[in-house]
Amino acid sequence: MELYLPPSPNDFLERLFQLSKVASLQDRMTGLAALANFDLSPVQTKKLAKVALDTAKLLSQLELESFGFQSSPVLVLAEWTADHLIDSLVLAGLRRRILFTLTLGPYGLLHQALLSEELKRGSPRFILFLLDIERRASLVPIVDSNASAQWARRTQEEIEQLAALVRDNWKAVPIFHNFFSMDGTIFGNHEVVIDRGPAAGIARLNSALLLSSRDANFLLWDLNALVAKYGRKNIHDLRLWRNAKLLISPDAAPLAMDQLAALCGAILGMSKKVLVLDLDNTLWGGVIGDDGLNGLRLGPGSGDGESYSAFQRYVKSLSERGVILAIASKNTHEVCVTAIREHPEMLLSMEDFACFRANWNNKADNLIEIAAFLNLGLDSLVFFDDSPAERDLIRQALPMVAVPEIPRDPTYYIDCLEGGRYFESVSLSSEDEHRNLQYRENANRSAFMSESRDLSDFLRSLEMTISMRPYHPTDLVRITQLINKTNQFNLTTRRYSEADVRALGENPDNLVLSARVKDRFGDNGLVSVVIACPDLDNKSFVIDTWLMSCRVFSRQIEQSVLRSLVHRARSHGALYLVGCYVPTTKNHLAASFYPDQGFAAIAPIGETLPGAKWWRLTLDAYDEPSLLATIEEF
């Protein structure tokens, strides 16, 4: 059971001690996150978690965010012992720049805890339910053929009711795990076929939970997948369950908590977006410059060749689901391009890479260029390279880049990349599937722009159509996804669940608008969202959320959205639009957005975050901009 982290440094304690004295809290947090990216012993884990939590106490949420971290209080409502998981969860969070602060609710008292005003004051972002699998599964009757289905439905309902309690009374995302059978079967191989007994009931329940997690809006932690991959006996020690109600044995805690942290990270917008790959001994066996096209190990004929093929297939699937691929290789550009184009067993093609850097420059510089080219932060990158020296270089030069410790045997490349759960997502939209294409189209646009004389010339020739639409349920997934992962053009960086967005969108008093953009190079899909809520006392709409995908910067989309918003606010009888800008470490490019659009500074309204600046636009004084796109209003 491996996390594919480099071995703990010999001077771990010394480093930790030095870090605990570093005056700059930003440097300290960054250093602690870097230390969390080593394979640490339980004692080291405990010490690092303590220093991290002590440091976090000195920091406000806003300060943490300004360092590129997210703070995330978690309330744990457990029917089994979870104390031994806490330090591992803190570390797994730290690896993803998330600071989990955990509160354990009263043991076994789920409903009572959900009614507790005191626990509510902790404002948890997540409520983690750890359910007693054995007690519930022991209730599966085997007498008649409907019994396991009935049991599964009852247990599913129990979970949905708990999720509903959270949804109605808390501003937190509930997390449930699925089940595995501790007893195995009563009937053996045939159990699931005849649909009786605990294994049959649990199989039914697990598939039912997939659906209810979507409908009842909770996160499903796939504990069962962990058990299937590593073996139940490695995850769960029945003796420790019976003695001390440990569902997850201490040895499995780092792995289990890493997966849980990845799931939370997807909600917090901390998942990675780009996979940067090396070529030699990473996508194929051998060195193209030395071994030549015919000397590469790739494809059938050798175990290694099969493994490189399997890895390429896996990477290609990642790209098809929206992970952006890039190459950073120390090589001669033409030699690599020839190999990729001409090797008959290559599964990845040049078109799969949004960015290709094969040169002899320093890899850290190449990574910086790749991030800049894609308009993304370096913390969106995963660097996958077989060379320990290059990995070391990136870890030291660019600590915000995720650098898994690649196994020497390519057989385990997929296991390493999959096991890191870098690209975890909680939704899939059609935009995901076209992302690589969209980034390539963007590259075409960039080339086109450099040929155009000036910006307005360029915008005109793009032949853009911008469609403004009020909230529609078919957009729910994409809107929620944008809300949770847009960092740069995001005025308030508020994150919402699908249920939150649905509630905001279905309220007819609110203005929930989305913008889609098409141009001569392709369809960019849904790229901007604005949510404004009425403030009747002040005859205004207050902009709760305004964000836009970085792919469509500098194309007058924001002006088009504002125009639509102004028109719609007027038709609701409003006189003003009010907006606020909440600074984070990533959204400075939106800092002067409101004043640039003619908003005037005003005093903060209501409860406001420190650092926030408030602005107001008088609708009567709004100047219609001249827009170089066709605007469709729905």
Binding site: V43, K47, N243, A244, L246, S249, P250
Partner: protein, 83 residues
């Protein structure tokens, strides 16, 4: 492995878990005698012993072994049976 070697091994595993340089153990030592040796440390110690010596405790042994002498007896017995 002699009984004394087993004792030293158990002491070093416990020291590692408790993050101490060393822990002095004798047959009569009980968990409450050593600061920090709580039920969870005990579980970790038993798992560590299992891994280090390739033996397996029964559930009740993890729970019930009262003093270091009992632990050593059980380990000795298991190692002997293994031969």
């Amino acid at each position: 492995m002699t009984r004394n070697e087993i004792l030293l091994k158990v002491a070093s595993l416990l020291a590692e878990i408790l993050d101490e340089d060393s822990v002095a153990l004798s047959d009569a030592t009980e968990a409450p005698d050593i600061p920090g040796w709580d039920s969870f440390v005990n579980i970790n110690l038993m798992i560590a012993i299992e891994k280090a010596l390739s033996i397996k405790f029964m559930a009740h042994e993890i729970e019930e072994l009262r003093n270091v002498g009992d632990v050593l007896d059980t380990i000795e017995h298991k190692l002997m049976r293994g031969k």
